[in-house]
């Protein structure tokens, strides 16, 4: 394989990985705080894709993008309020089933509202601009994705390490009950978590779908699960871990496709997950927890 082809694939991989990383952060944050695999997160990401289609139909892109971000955030927070909050004291399995139910509902709702046929994703002209670097060619979105991901993650880490709400989030993820007793407003912390997660999912969706060009009701499902795997890979609860996990998966998947094993690209993700869970269940950056008897 020529060096150029290799670089070209590398670039695609990093770009895909960046989008995965943004979604994975949503999973890792919610899991860190609620110990819940938010199965609906992938579908929130899918809905953000549809929001964009409709927003861009009536507004220029610089108005449409904020609308999409806000709508996605509202959706994420709404789901938390309606489907997860009432189950806070329920067994973990119930809340997980509720998440699966929400995912099912969103998929059916999307099928009903927008039909099951794939819809073309609007292309924001400047994102699609092709750059030519030597022999490599890439659209702006391919280059912008990893950069934007890193910038956002940096900002997020600043927020978590240096703000009051960030401190509260860290406390809640360490010990839910104790922090509640210490007077931390749990519901507020959870809402902020969902706001941040949904915001990043919306940005991820713009980057991801601009590359993929179509949206359909099930297009959130597999990417969603993959991003959860990325979060586990990096160590659930760890934001840098989720980012690195996202990049590993993006690169690995692109490599498999390049080698002609595209049928196995989904299976690869889960194979990595299982190997990881067996040999290092806490992920690359996770902390060890001991059960008390």
């Amino acid at each position: 394989m020529a060096i150029n082809t290799l670089l070209q694939h590398g670039l695609t991989g990093i770009s895909l990985g960046g989008a995965y990383a943004l979604i994975a952060i949503g999973y890792t944050m919610v899991y860190g705080i609620l110990r819940l695999i938010n199965f609906a997160h992938g579908d929130i990401f899918m809905m953000a894709g549809y929001f964009m289609i409709f927003a861009i139909a009536s507004f220029p892109w610089y108005v449409a993008v904020p609308i999409v971000l806000i709508a996605t955030i509202l959706l994420g927070v709404l789901i938390e309020r309606v489907a997860y909050k009432p189950l806070r004291s329920a067994p973990r399995m119930s809340i997980m089933i509720s998440a699966i139910g929400v995912s099912y509902l969103l998929q059916n709702l999307a099928t009903y509202l927008f039909t099951a046929l794939p819809r073309g994703y609007p292309s924001i002209p400047f994102l699609k601009k092709i750059f030519q670097i030597g022999e490599l060619s890439a659209s702006l979105v391919t280059i912008i994705t990893p950069v934007l991901t890193l910038v956002l993650v940096y900002l997020l880490i600043l927020l978590i390490n240096h703000s009051k709400i960030g401190m509260a989030m860290r406390a809640v993820s360490k010990d839910f009950e104790t922090s509640q007793l210490m007077g931390i407003k749990i519901n507020q912390v959870i809402s902020v978590t969902f706001v941040v997660g949904s915001l990043l999912a919306a940005i991820g969706s713009i980057l991801y779908f601009t590359d993929r060009m179509t949206v359909f009701p099930f297009s959130g499902m597999l990417p969603g699960l993959k991003c959860f795997v990325a979060a586990v890979l990096g160590g659930i609860g760890s934001i840098p871990g989720a980012v690195i996990g996202g990049f590993i998966l993006g690169l690995g998947e692109t490599a498999l496709v390049a080698m002609g094993y595209s049928t196995f690209s989904d299976a690869f993700t889960f194979a990595i997950l299982i190997v990881m869970l067996l040999f290092r269940p806490t992920g690359l950056f996770g902390e060890k927890v001991t059960d008390k008897v």
Partner: protein, 368 residues
């Protein structure tokens, strides 16, 4: 709580079975009129088996596994490959041909179903060894992943000569008789009930309740978890095999994650930890989808076309109902209780008889 005597219960149970058989015979005899109803009932029975199998794992052993679709796929492909008539195989595998060893491998349906179960169970054994060490949600996501891996292998071009890759398998002969579907399903469920009622079933429940305490009672956790997993996989495989025969043609897309979620929702609807609940849930959910079908058609009331009613609305309503169950009626239909004649009797007494007699006062006091 008043109880019926043993004899009455046996008579009632026999009566129920006889009524069910007569009803089915009637439907079967008038097949041309009732083929739609029969096909719904058949699908329900098949789903009931896999739902009970999932419940055995989730509701009785406390292991949350989401690998059902994958194990059903193994069963379905086993049955399909072994029962497609030898003479039509060339036509089914017209693109890449069939693997030499399989060209003439044929088994009668019952044997193929057992083999389907065994293959799925064997796969469960291999997979169970590593993943059963994981805890709750990690187990769920790992089994979900395995089911996707199995699907990827089925669709892989490298296995074209066995699974026919993305073209799927067609021309699977149907059931020789409707009674076979219900007979096999009933047998599978009965076997699972017997397992749950045995000492092993009690050990599974102990693991669900408290792993540490179960271990302190001398129950070998990994052995019993493995056992529950393999049993569940076996019956999931059998029901997958039946699903292949029911559908007549299958491909890897028939076994997506959505199928697992459907089964999960049946289990939730029926009650996690109730076998009869899962059976009711399977019939209710499969039939409910059909009942709600009118939501999919435009509705015109007095010349005015009601908005919202169009294709897809049915599934939205359906998922809303399920969410309502999950959120407000978490125990599902049955909770962890089982159907029993005593239960029915007391229910009727409480709601009809007592209300009837209350004004006189005396009757009520006597058995309080």
């Amino acid at each position: 709580m008043k109880k019926l005597d043993q004899k009455t219960k046996i008579i009632l149970s026999v009566a129920l079975v006889v009524v069910a058989i007569l009803g089915l015979s009637y439907l079967d005899a008038n097949r041309s009129d009732y083929s739609y109803a029969l096909s719904i009932l058949e699908r329900s029975a098949i789903y009931a088996v896999v739902a009970v199998a999932m419940n055995l794992l989730t509701g009785f052993t406390g292991l949350f596994s989401l690998g059902q679709a994958g194990f059903m796929a193994i069963g379905a492909y086993t049955v399909a490959i072994l029962t497609i008539p030898v003479e039509s195989r060339a036509a089914v595998y017209y693109i890449n041909g069939i693997a030499d060893g399989l060209a003439n491998a044929y088994l009668p349906l019952w044997a193929a179903l057992i083999l389907a179960g065994i293959f799925a169970a064997f796969m469960g054994l291999l997979i169970g060894y590593p993943v059963l060490r994981l805890k709750s949600d990690y187990l769920a996501i790992a089994t979900l992943g395995f089911s996707e891996i199995i699907r990827a292998f089925i669709a892989a071009p490298q296995l074209d000569r066995i699974t026919n890759g993305s073209y799927g398998l067609k021309s699977i002969p149907g059931f020789p008789s409707t009674f076979m579907v219900f007979g096999v399903s009933a047998l599978c469920i009965l076997l699972m009930v017997m397992i749950l009622r045995s000492s092993y079933g009690r050990a599974f429940k102990a693991i669900r309740e408290d792993e540490t305490a179960a271990e302190a009672m001398g129950i070998n956790l990994s052995k019993h978890k493995q056992m529950a997993f393999v049993i569940s996989c076996f019956f999931t495989g059998v029901s997958g095999g039946m699903l292949a025969v029911y559908m007549r043609s299958i491909d890897s897309k028939s076994f997506q994650i959505g199928l697992t979620f459907d089964i999960l929702l049946i289990v939730v609807l029926g009650g996690i930890g109730s076998v009869t609940g899962s059976v009711f849930g399977a019939f209710l959910m499969t039939a409910g989808r059909e009942w709600l079908r009118f939501f999919d058609n435009p509705l015109v009331v007095g010349g005015f076309s009601v908005p919202l009613f169009r294709s897809g609305f049915r599934m939205v309503i359906f998922s809303l109902i399920l969410m309502a169950v999950v959120l407000y009626y978490r125990k599902g239909l049955m909770g962890t209780r089982e159907f029993s004649w005593d239960g029915i009797y007391n229910f009727l007494r409480k709601h009809l008889y007592l209300r009837w007699r209350k004004p006189s006062g005396e009757e009520v006091k006597r058995d309080v």
